[in-house]
């Protein structure tokens, strides 16, 4: 049979028409689209049932309680705990992206000696050698933890020294140590009972104290109200977030906070609007006007305003003695609605400026990245994330520490709290073998030291014995009703929080003999309490992919 061109055409057309009627071309089209929806290089989430566990955020000393969603053992989302009376379910913006930090490209997973890779063995040998050769200073960025006790004990036994890097909120309370003899770590602010809050640049609505606490108080009592129950007055040189939402914003020249505080105190004392027995400061209103840029009338008006609705408390960003003196004049120290004493007698530790001549410095992973010891000592720095700069935070040894929720730790009372609190942050993520915390290293070096676990257990026992306070766990229960220390510890280890009783009425007497000189200090913008060199990756939404924030607000490296 001869196949003609016509035959070919006929058969070809017929086949094409027939093919269209079969599922073949449609299936192929469908497959193409499915392929374009499932490119193999697009990451997929783990498909596993989700369980929710509780812990606390360990990025900063605020230790906000967290609910963590886990799938196949990995954290896939975080949220706050609404039933917690202090945090009220809030986390800071960084907290919401914290669960991804452990895979940050800057995550440190090898021991670095200078620029070169080394090993834990080498590091231990070097550390032991340093111990033999001279005193060691240990620097802690998150004092009060069980790990902190390890540092303190180790330093004492070895004849070294233990130093803390206080958070800005604690630093601001330092002047009251001289005035009232109470260490700053024992003090807090009774914001729940304050009706006027005068903030000298403190970011009360943007990361000061426990994020949820003042945000919630302010939202419930002040936001949007023309005559709010809680008056927030923000003294600041520029319109910060807190200033933008404050009931009143007093724009002054940067660095003139002391002058303003002193001038206001003078007005109040001269006009007899406060009953505290303190000397009248020498600074004149004219001088204050010159320094602050506010007119004398404005200063007078402001002074009268702050006492119009007591109790009033002034909050500083640093240890400015003039603002502390103003608080004394306002009668805000040791009273309801002001600066209160929590009651527990905490130890006061030296700061980093007292590090003398030492053989070596051991820096815990909680210390802000920009801290570099000036001493001519060998530096052993623990860090979960490495900074971008090559000279690794000034460290000779960079040691990979546990990252987010990778180790059991505890959460002492956060700065600014008016009541004692305690929580345990269980480890929810399995740490890889190459990470080790500073406390683990020290406990390995001196096996007589009480480990973190042991200390936590001891603290649970103390709490149980005291029979005070309330446990906020799956159920809210007074400690007095908890049947055993094992039950208490079990609750705490699964993320419950202990909140102590309100003892703000405990006396705190302050004496002001002489008014401090109002020194024009450089603009002290409160640093963020996130000291790490790496931000949670999703923070890029805030400073890179939008104009909402500047990267410099957080980034230290």
């Amino acid at each position: 049979m001869k196949v003609t061109r016509r035959d070919l055409l006929l058969w070809g057309t017929g086949a094409a028409a027939g093919l269209v009627l079969t599922p073949v071309p449609w299936k192929l089209l469908g497959d193409v689209s499915i392929w374009s929806q499932n490119w193999p290089w697009i990451p997929q989430p783990t498909h596993a049932p989700v369980e929710v566990k509780r812990s606390s955020c360990t990025l900063c000393p605020k230790g906000c309680p967290m609910r963590v969603r886990l799938a196949a053992g990995w954290p896939v989302g975080v949220a706050g705990v609404p039933s917690h009376p202090l945090s009220r379910g809030a986390l800071c913006p960084l907290g919401f992206g914290a669960h991804q930090l452990n895979w940050h490209p800057q995550r440190l997973r090898t021991v670095l000696h200078g620029e070169k890779s080394s090993s834990w063995n080498e590091a231990r040998i070097a550390f032991a050698k340093a111990l033999r050769e001279g005193p060691i200073a240990i620097v802690d960025g998150y004092p009060g933890r069980a790990a902190s006790l390890v540092f303190d004990s180790f330093a004492q036994k070895q004849g070294g020294s233990y130093h803390v890097v206080p958070s800005p909120e604690i630093r601001a309370l330092a002047p009251y140590q001289a005035l009232g003899g109470v260490p700053a770590v024992d003090l807090g602010y009774d914001l729940e009972n304050a009706r006027t809050v005068l903030s000298f640049g403190a970011p009360l609505l943007d990361g000061w104290g426990i994020p949820g606490r003042f945000n919630h108080l302010w939202a419930e009592r002040a936001a949007g109200a023309a005559d709010p129950q809680l008056r927030l007055i923000q003294v600041e040189d520029s319109l910060s977030r807190t200033a933008a939402r404050a009931w009143q914003w007093a724009p002054i020249r940067a660095g003139a906070e002391a002058a303003l505080a002193t001038a206001m105190a003078r007005v109040l004392l001269e006009e007899g609007r406060v009953s505290a027995r303190v000397p009248i400061p020498a600074l004149t209103l004219a001088e204050a006007e010159q320094q602050t840029g506010l007119s004398t009338d404005a200063i007078r008006g402001l002074a009268r305003t702050i006492v119009a609705r007591p109790p009033v408390v002034a909050i500083a960003t640093d240890d400015n003695p003039s603002i502390a003196a103003l608080n004394v004049a306002l009668g805000a120290v040791g009273t309801r609605g002001g600066i209160v004493r929590r009651g527990k007698k905490a130890k006061s530790y030296p700061g980093i400026d007292t590090i003398g001549s030492v053989r070596a410095v051991l820096i815990d992973s909680t210390v802000p990245w920009d801290f570099t010891p000036s001493a001519n000592a060998e530096v052993f720095r623990f860090a979960a994330w490495n900074g971008a700069s090559s000279r690794a935070g000034g460290a000779d040894w960079l040691l990979p520490a546990p990252g987010f929720l990778e180790e059991l730790t505890d959460v002492p009372t956060p700065p600014t709290s008016a009541v004692e609190t305690y929580a345990v942050a269980p480890s929810l993520v399995k740490a890889t073998p190459e990470v080790q915390s500073a406390a683990q290293l020290l406990c390995g070096t001196d096996t007589d030291l009480a480990t973190v676990e042991k200390t936590i257990h001891a603290r649970c026992e103390d709490l149980f014995q005291a029979r005070a306070g309330t446990l906020y766990g799956d159920a809210t229960m007074p400690v007095a009703q908890v049947v055993s220390v094992e039950k208490l510890e079990e609750q705490l280890r699964s993320g419950a929080a202990w909140i102590g009783e309100d003892v703000s009425s405990e006396r705190l007497r302050c004496e002001l003999k002489n008014w401090p000189t109002a020194v024009d200090s450089p603009s002290s913008r409160q640093e963020t309490t996130w000291g790490g060199p790496a931000l949670p990756p999703l923070a890029s939404k805030l400073y890179q992919e939008s104009n909402l924030r500047e990267a410099s607000e957080w980034r230290k490296a």
């Binding site: 061109r5 089209l29 193409v32 689209s33 392929w35 374009s36």
Partner: protein, 419 residues
């Protein structure tokens, strides 16, 4: 002409005068280079994604959409000339009909190529056909442009088959002959399809309720921009044909059409342009004073950002609209080729400006009360891709001119008076 090793005279129609092959290749070379760069730029966009462009979340449409709309409007000469010749029997326009088809084919295939790069997922292009949204103007555009491209291919194929060598294949000859009979039908279908998609392209902007700068009321479901786009397309199509024909005459160095053709095309273009300008003025007044005000936009808000001030509107309607309309229709200028071509260029520029304003100015203008006015400039990949289309167009046209009887009949194609 000296014969050389490199010769393609077998492919050239007998008696037709064409430049030597090496010289032709020399002519093609720079355009081929431009096309090559364009393909590379397009490849980058397909491989890396649209982050290669400078489009962003606020400028979701950019250079490509603006130029696509522009060349589709200019390529309207294809359907409109076909409509005039076959439906309205204006046979004096026949000499440019083939050019119109080739230009149309180039414009539409080029636009389709750019659109395939412009979408984020080219492999899903068929979804519009499978899950069409009857409400969306873009669905209509997609369908009509695709169908019209097929029509243009069917209109081009007979031309292609008239090539000297291809004619020798009997089945091609038969096929061409059959197709030839279809041409009036194709012209009618093409006119209908083109009418709708030119309109829908205007509808794309006119239905944007969220963009008061672009939004227009209209007739039934069609906003006024639907009709304005059709008018401007059929007004600029003949102008563009004039420009292309003049360019071809210049490059080849021969007279290919009668001088009256220019004035004829110009007159048609001018009249339509005048109608368009009148409609546009009415539309602009209604839009500024009624439509936009009803959603809270005062007219000055659209024109208070540099460089898109009221001068742009004035240039679009008067300088590049009313003025060329007058120049093209005024009897005294009918034989002044230079003036006519200048006016034609202005008409085309006016249409391009209109597409630009509706694409770029729409997106630059704030919509929310706290938006800022934004600027956009294309990346080199965007410019190169489109330049590649121009290179492609010149190459296709050059090849068509060389090997196919674009002007006149099979034998020779130098213009002979009286033909």
């Amino acid at each position: 002409m000296a014969s050389s090793v490199l010769t393609d005279s077998r492919w050239i129609a007998r008696g037709a005068l064409r430049t030597a092959a090496p010289r032709f290749l020399l002519w093609l070379a720079p355009w081929a280079a431009v096309l090559a760069v364009g393909i590379y730029a397009a490849g980058l966009c397909l491989y890396h994604g649209l982050n290669q462009t400078h489009m962003d979340n606020r400028f979701a449409f950019g250079l490509w959409i603006f130029l696509d709309l522009g060349i589709i409007a200019l390529g309207a000469g294809a359907f409109f000339t076909g409509f005039l010749v076959y439906i309205l029997k204006r046979v004096e326009l026949k000499p440019v009909l083939n050019t119109a088809v080739v230009v149309g084919l180039i414009c539409y295939s080029g636009a389709m190529a750019i659109l395939m790069i412009d979408v984020g997922q080219p492999l899903r292009a068929w979804f519009t056909f499978w899950y069409p949204n009857a409400q969306s103007m873009l669905t209509e555009v997609t369908f009509c442009i695709s169908c019209y491209l097929v029509v243009l291919i069917f209109e081009y194929v007979p031309l292609l088959l008239r090539n000297r060598q291809l004619r020798r294949v009997p089945s091609f000859l038969v096929f061409e002959h059959q197709l030839h009979k279809l041409v009036p039908v194709l012209a009618a279908v093409g006119a209908l399809l083109s009418f709708f998609h030119q309109g829908s392209l205007g509808g794309l902007y006119g239905v944007l309720r969220g963009r008061p700068f672009a939004f227009r009321e209209g007739f039934l479901i069609w906003p006024s921009t639907f009709f304005l786009f059709i008018l401007s397309a059929i007004a600029s199509g003949p102008s563009f044909l004039m420009l292309v024909t003049a360019a071809v005459e210049k490059v080849t160095g021969r007279r290919l059409v009668s001088p009256q053709l220019y004035s004829r095309l110009g007159f048609i273009s001018g009249v339509l342009l005048a109608v368009y300008v009148a409609a546009k003025c009415l539309d602009t007044l209604l839009w500024l004073n009624v439509t936009s005000r009803s959603v809270g936009f005062a007219p000055w808000q659209f024109y208070s950002h540099r460089p898109f001030g009221t001068p742009v509107l004035f240039v679009e309607i008067v300088i590049l609209g009313l003025l060329p309309a007058f120049l093209l229709t005024y009897r005294r200028f009918a034989m002044r080729r230079g003036l006519l071509l200048g006016a034609a260029a202005m008409a085309c520029a006016g249409v391009l400006l209109n597409r630009f304003v509706l694409t770029i100015q729409t997106l630059a203008l704030p919509t929310l009360g706290f938006d800022r006015f934004l600027l956009y400039s294309p990346s080199w990949q965007e410019v190169a891709s489109f330049a590649g289309v121009i290179g492609y167009g010149v190459i296709i046209y050059s090849l068509s001119y060389r090997y196919l009887p674009l002007f006149g009949q099979a034998k020779g194609n130098t213009y002979v008076p009286g033909n």
